[in-house]
Symmetry: C2
Subunit: 448 residues, 2 copies
């Protein structure tokens, strides 16, 4: 596609075709047009070094001559410019390339001063100030790198599952009932009725096991939880998987291990530069991730870290951090499966362990101190599901469509859900989930 600009604002001479930073190495010795944002301009007498930022990186142009410098006289950072020049190799320049004999043209002038500098190696403002100005703050190269990883993560997730015979689905986000019967749903005014925003595609992905056996969905989920922590937000991107004809939760864990391995491998291969610029190292994952049962995990916390949580029926964030520390020391693993959570703390659709019905065929996957995945085997027999609804005090009337799938034959199945932004948070080591969410939503933030 011809992306050179012409029309009213352009000069008469025809310009060479546009090249992006990522393509420049293929054009050494050629005249090219580059375009992007004026990231930084360093004047040294009659010569200036202009750092141009485009969608794929930073590129240095050497500007000489009064006429060219005059073009940039009042140009503030972020001015949109076009630079025609010759690509030359220059070991001192970022990326080993430079643009010489340049002609500069301003495409979109910028006259205002930025809310904070985005052309320094590290972003200075606090999180709230950054988020208030995310529309420009996200242009910082480290933020570009972070969200390119996000894009790569989603692609790798889908790629692995497609290779394993999964079919992608898109399910309703407006539902007539609270997905898992709980509170913490956002009500929506829907043509005179009340609808709710889906907390997860759980019930739909299970229904779809009856159609395709193996399904996945990537999409937003909504949690009206009034919490204010560094690892929760009220809308996130859920990576959801469900598969039929499993032995039990262990088959789901094996699939998940493959998914996680592929995500790390794909990011390592395709986003090496972004990982390096963020100073991030990816974990190495063996064929199997260490596994510990919930009760054993509590015993380990008791024995190794001196806190007795053995009578509790869930793990706290501190417990998860300790367990990850233990897994690193005992197995050299940054990932750890905790299995067999207590039945009472899991949703109604969770399959109890037939040998120990107070615990379930469920798991969490912990990574670098935090739970990143929840999953397990589901109840697949209609009668058992009905008795679970009763025990969980849920009205079957709210589950008519879901139950219909079970009246007409569901195989043993299970799956998991993984928050994409939280996985990214753990990969890049961000202190707050809001740093790895493009435009986060929380109790205090509905914009930008």
């Amino acid at each position: 596609m011809n992306q050179a600009m012409d029309g009213a604002a352009s000069s008469a001479a025809p310009r060479p075709p546009r090249v992006q930073t990522r393509q420049a190495a293929e054009h050494v010795g050629e005249r090219v047009t580059m375009a992007g944002w004026l990231h930084r301009l360093r004047r040294l007498g009659g010569i200036s070094f202009l750092l141009l930022r485009d969608g794929s990186g930073l590129f240095q142009a050497v500007i000489e001559g009064d006429r060219q410098l005059a073009v940039l006289q009042d140009a503030q950072p972020e001015t949109v410019i076009e630079v025609e020049g010759t690509v030359v190799t220059e070991t001192q320049a970022p990326g080993g390339l430079e643009l010489h004999d340049c002609q500069v043209r301003v495409i979109t002038p910028v006259t205002e001063t930025l809310p904070f500098e985005i052309n320094k190696k590290v972003l200075k403002p606090g999180l709230d100030v950054f988020l208030d100005h995310a529309p420009v703050g996200l242009r910082h190269p480290q933020k570009q790198a972070t969200f390119r990883l996000f894009s790569g993560l989603l692609a790798a997730f889908r790629e692995h599952l497609t290779g394993e015979g999964f079919t992608e689905i898109q399910t309703p986000k407006l539902v007539g009932m609270a997905t898992e019967g709980g509170a913490n749903v956002f009500p929506v005014s829907y043509f005179g009725q009340t609808a709710y925003l889906a907390q997860s595609p759980q019930l739909y992905k299970q229904i779809m096991v009856g159609v395709f056996e193996r399904v996945f969905e990537v999409g937003p989920v909504f949690r009206a939880e009034p919490h204010s922590t560094t690892r929760h937000i009220n809308q996130y991107t859920s990576l959801d998987v469900e598969m039929g004809f499993i032995r039990d939760h262990r088959d789901v864990m094996e699939l998940l291990t493959g998914v996680v391995c592929h995500i790390f491998a794909a990011l390592g291969e395709r986003c090496a530069q972004d990982l390096e610029s963020l100073g991030v190292s990816l974990p190495t994952v063996g064929q199997t991730i260490p596994r510990v049962k919930f009760r054993e995990a509590q015993q380990i916390i008791h024995d190794q870290f001196g806190e007795d949580c053995r009578s509790e029926d869930d793990l706290s964030p501190q417990h998860e951090r300790w367990l990850c520390q233990w897994a690193r020391e005992a197995f050299g693993s940054e990932l750890l499966f905790v299995t067999h959570y207590p039945t009472g703390k899991r949703p109604f659709y969770t399959m109890p362990d037939p040998d120990d019905p107070d615990h379930t065929h469920s798991f969490d996957l912990l990574f670098r101190g935090t739970e990143i995945v929840t999953g397990g085997q589901r109840v697949h027999l209609y009668a058992q599901l009905m008795s679970h609804l009763e025990r969980w005090n849920l009205d079957p009337e709210g589950f008519v469509g879901y139950l219909e799938a079970f009246r007409y034959g569901m195989p043993p199945h299970g799956g998991f859900g993984m928050g994409a932004e939280r996985l990214l948070q753990m990969i890049v080591g961000a202190a707050n989930l809001r740093e790895t969410t493009l435009f986060p939503r929380d109790m205090k933030r509905l914009s930008p």
Copy 2:
């Protein structure tokens, strides 16, 4: 992964590994286990033909012997079963393969009669009855085929854009203001405030052009339009694209042509069997899709079809059908671009044609009688955008984050949005958009 089932319900003998229908051809002569749903059972004396349906298709098993038949005595359709047998070639069988010397086991019994038959070639019930029972109705092979195409369509869309250097984004669906300043938004009760469900990722994808130049998003959008037509629903999957450093809308149209061509090519290559089973033929698209300006289109309608709509400022569904008929007859094309819609009928961010400011650098793509894509060039200069907000009677206070991106340099850019379900509707020739939407939402339908 070992998917043979064991545990309490299994018999003692070890079973051969499970094979899905799509993999069976690689196992001719071998003992395998197949599993799925009892699609149909035809008894002919002491021998029965069992049609097994799994996530990837239908497979015939020949059942002999009283003991095996007894297992299936009371089995209703949709009973979940496992069949161990030997794969043999048999030209009479569907797919040219059959399972012989079978041992059948019931995994999940079904005792109830289905709400309607799903093992006949064509689904009989009317749309409303079908949708009420979608959790089982979607198991019909033609429905499987339809939604496998949906999955393939999404993958092909992303694949093409990733190849063109686009970055995937996920943006908020809960917003503090109506995206395009209009009515028709669903209000959400959000921690004591009112939020709205995003009608489109328009403003966010434009902001992200400032970060990545080229972005795409696949996700749900919500329209509170109180209409009841065969081509509208209230939640759909929007395929959104935005790209920077364009000449004008024509660059966006060239990109879109590539996207659409790739979707058709990918479906033709990877989903040939599904297309065939639905009796669907894909359009052939040339290098360029015919283009006609809005005013010319009205003239064509006047001259060729005898209706004078030349003073109107939009096209009706009937006009779109006539234009598609004209494009087919005049150019042999099932696709047609209509460009330069009147400024007043397009959103505030649409770029007016500098040579004719009453019309815009916008386009719709029509396909088989219906608009499937809307797009165009956007206003990229801050001052022009502010004057547009004023002309459109929109309060800049509602657009603070969006406007910030424009205060700090935006390049000429444009993009488009395409409804995935509607594109699929036109591909398969469904009369109603609800037939190509997994669990549609409309004024009367919030479940299943």
